[in-house]
Point group: C2
Chain length 456, copies 2
């Protein structure tokens, strides 16, 4: 088998039974989204370069998959840029489109484009694939599914709380009650950056902090020192905030005392208000206010979230936050949005690890028709249609091979029933059914078989 090809690294094939468990998760998530009043939309996988770029920040942009212009258009390749090492410029000379990196930027584009048809506040969800040319490893895919729920056109802090409700509801329904939602506020990170004098490098600061979980505290210290020239006393200060493990109220008081500008006050008030709303509820998973939570993407402006599974090597199960200005880059001002995302494949991995899937049955493997000869199958065609009309799923074995082999196929695929109609049955005007569960057989008159079967 010399030419054997495989699926690309960082992608995954789903066979029938594995797809069922994936669908199990999707259905739970979709139903929660709907139950919270969100409506589903879909956008194309491909977006124009102008839509995708300069929204995520350098860190995002560099992982976008670019599509080569078709046909003669590649002749416009900017070879000078290539030889000058300006790879982005070279790529942009032969690529007008790319695969979406997330569902948030396409949502902002959708909202701006269809602005006049949408009734705001617009609560939408979207369950579709995204692509990132990140280095693949366990739990990190190049093609994966995001399940996003967003509300656009409202500043209400209730939505910040609702996102926590949605995360909690989904993970509890999936049996993952021990996940933890980390929250932070971009404005507080801003205030911290100001305080240590690196507000000009805020985006780089965010990208570095975001790597903390991957690289560890020590390496982060080095990066902060070397890349951003932060002095040691400030790094110590950051470590103190990032590694804080005391009570929420002490940490929020510390922040409140240290930052007294209007934006910081508003941010701490928002965090406080969210905690206040949570007090009434026993439906939530654990929440942790974590100043080291940064989220790598540029567009967040307020509260940010990330869901982690303590004790698991699988990365974050989802994340999100408030983005106040995202539609502005598509020409629509003053339209704040907030949203969270669930990483389907990672949740799937984690649930698989924890054996959380109920035994799911491949629906199509219900009734198998033994094939003695095409003509026999053809004769009972009306019966087969009748069974399907009853909602039963009927698999006609295509080849008239040895009967024992056909039965073995039925066993391996865990069919419920096997229907036997050959010369013997035909001569007697009957049809035989075997119940694979217990091996028992029943003989029916051909005429009223479907009716009799429906009563079984």
């Amino acid at each position: 088998m010399s030419n054997k090809s495989t699926n690309p690294k960082g992608t995954k094939d789903y066979g029938p039974s594995e797809l069922l468990s994936l669908r199990f998760i999707i259905n739970k998530i979709r139903n929660v989204f709907i139950s919270f009043g969100y409506s589903e939309i879909e956008t194309p996988s491909i977006e124009k370069r102008a839509t995708l770029y300069e929204k995520y920040g350098d860190e995002g942009d560099k992982f976008i998959f670019n599509i080569i212009n078709s046909g003669e258009k590649v002749k416009k390749a900017d070879i000078k840029s290539l030889s000058a090492g300006k790879l982005n410029q070279f790529v942009s000379s032969i690529s007008e489109k790319g695969l979406r990196f997330d569902l948030t930027v396409p949502l902002a584009r959708f909202v701006a484009q269809h602005f006049n048809e949408i009734i705001f506040p617009f609560k939408r969800f979207q369950i579709q694939k995204v692509w990132r040319s990140d280095r693949p490893q366990r739990g990190r895919f190049q093609e994966f599914t995001q399940c996003d729920v967003d509300a656009i056109g409202s500043n209400s802090l209730f939505l910040e709380y609702e996102m926590i409700q949605i995360y909690s509801k989904v993970f509890r329904e999936l049996g993952l009650k021990d996940v933890k939602i980390k929250i932070n506020h971009r404005q507080i990170l801003n205030s911290i950056a100001n305080k240590i004098g690196i507000s000009d490098s805020f985006n780089e600061f965010i990208v570095l902090i975001d790597k903390r979980d991957k690289i560890g505290s020590e390496k982060l210290r080095n990066l902060l020192r070397n890349d951003l020239n932060i002095k040691d006393s400030h790094i110590d200060y950051l470590s103190e905030l990032f590694d804080y493990s005391g009570k929420f109220s002490d940490l929020i008081n510390k922040i409140t005392n240290e930052f007294s500008d209007a934006l910081s006050i508003k941010a701490t008030e928002e965090i406080n208000k969210i905690y206040e709303m949570m007090e009434n509820s026993d439906e939530l998973v654990e929440i942790e206010f974590d100043l080291s939570l940064a989220r790598g993407l540029n567009y967040y402006t307020g509260i940010i979230y990330e869901v982690v599974a303590p004790g698991s090597s699988i990365g974050s199960l989802g994340g999100g936050g408030r983005y106040s200005d995202l539609t502005k880059s598509f020409g629509v001002d003053n339209l704040s949005g907030i949203g969270i995302s669930f990483g389907l494949e990672r949740i799937h991995l984690l649930m698989d690890e924890k054996n959380l899937f109920p035994s799911l049955k491949v629906l199509s493997n219900d009734i198998l028709i033994i094939n003695f000869d095409i003509n026999f199958v053809n004769e009972i065609e009306q019966i087969i249609y009748g069974l399907r009309d009853l909602g039963r799923n009927v698999f006609v074995f295509p080849d008239s091979i040895k009967i024992s082999k056909q039965f073995s196929f039925a066993d391996k695929n865990k069919f419920n029933f096997v229907i036997i109609y050959g010369q013997e049955e035909k001569d007697r005007g009957s049809i035989k059914i075997r119940i694979l569960d217990n091996g028992s057989e029943k003989l029916f008159k051909l005429k009223n078989f479907v009716h009799e079967f429906s009563k079984m």
Copy 2:
């Protein structure tokens, strides 16, 4: 709004209500597939270049979307090929992956890769997106969804018939009873090509015939004359076969008489047997044996199908056929396959044109909670959870704006109920509900509201 960006040409955004009609079609198709005993799989959108290329023929290959290698890898761009005008070679120097062009080649790759896990015959279906860099126009998309059903590992002619059953069942269930399934046999086209002495250019011949519906008979004549050097008498002969409008039996007799080699005899026997099986059934849509049906892709070897909607400008609604050798190119011999595809977006367009969608309701727009203030909403949180547990979908209006505006939002979005809980209701320990259908209102005790609502 200067920066307004739009979705790329040849792609489509689906808002909530349009997505519902798309889902309506998908569910019908999926349920038919399952009822015929087929199991669902999913494969990645991205495949390796080696998987995709040289499977479809030049005509397919040239419409594959290529993805540019990430990061430093583009430095390997083969500039010499570019300046020599060898664009394919240039593209292959900077692209190792592409977007799948159909679901059949990925299926063949899947079957070869997972050969040892699969129990044959493998009846699978797959409903996923495919991409083609074809020039976009009405009904021709660059990103679209194929709904494919295939059986691998059996030569049984019953499957040729089953594909007709599946097409018929789906289109009848969708209310498109007047579609027509054209069928032909690649071997007969082969025999015809042999007869007129162009067997060496068979693939080019197929590609040209495939264009007939688009370009018309007259232009096809010119192409056959100029591109393939077919002489006029042979072109007349082809026209006679292609434009044949008489009885099936006369045409098949003509073919049987003219071609007496073993392969042709087998092919006509297959066509005859399929017609024989169809005789017993009144569940099928119209079938037409059409010698001008070619299908543009290289991998077909036997019976081929195409579904058209007479009187519509939308192109074919689906197609497929028998491919005996496709897994061979992935290192697995002797594994014949057959399958058909449904073009989702085109079916959607056609059904929309014919007003065939039932009135579908956006599920999430069920109960709206009026927001007098976040605190009031927070107080009835347990009630909201209770309603959701009943299976109801509850949309909390996020902002405490003017009540009339919130009601207007509920009206525009066709909510069923509005729940009112403000100071007045709080003071009375009650909760009010308005039924938007008739404008009536009901007052409930706060305590047992969920229970009372469940009985409404």
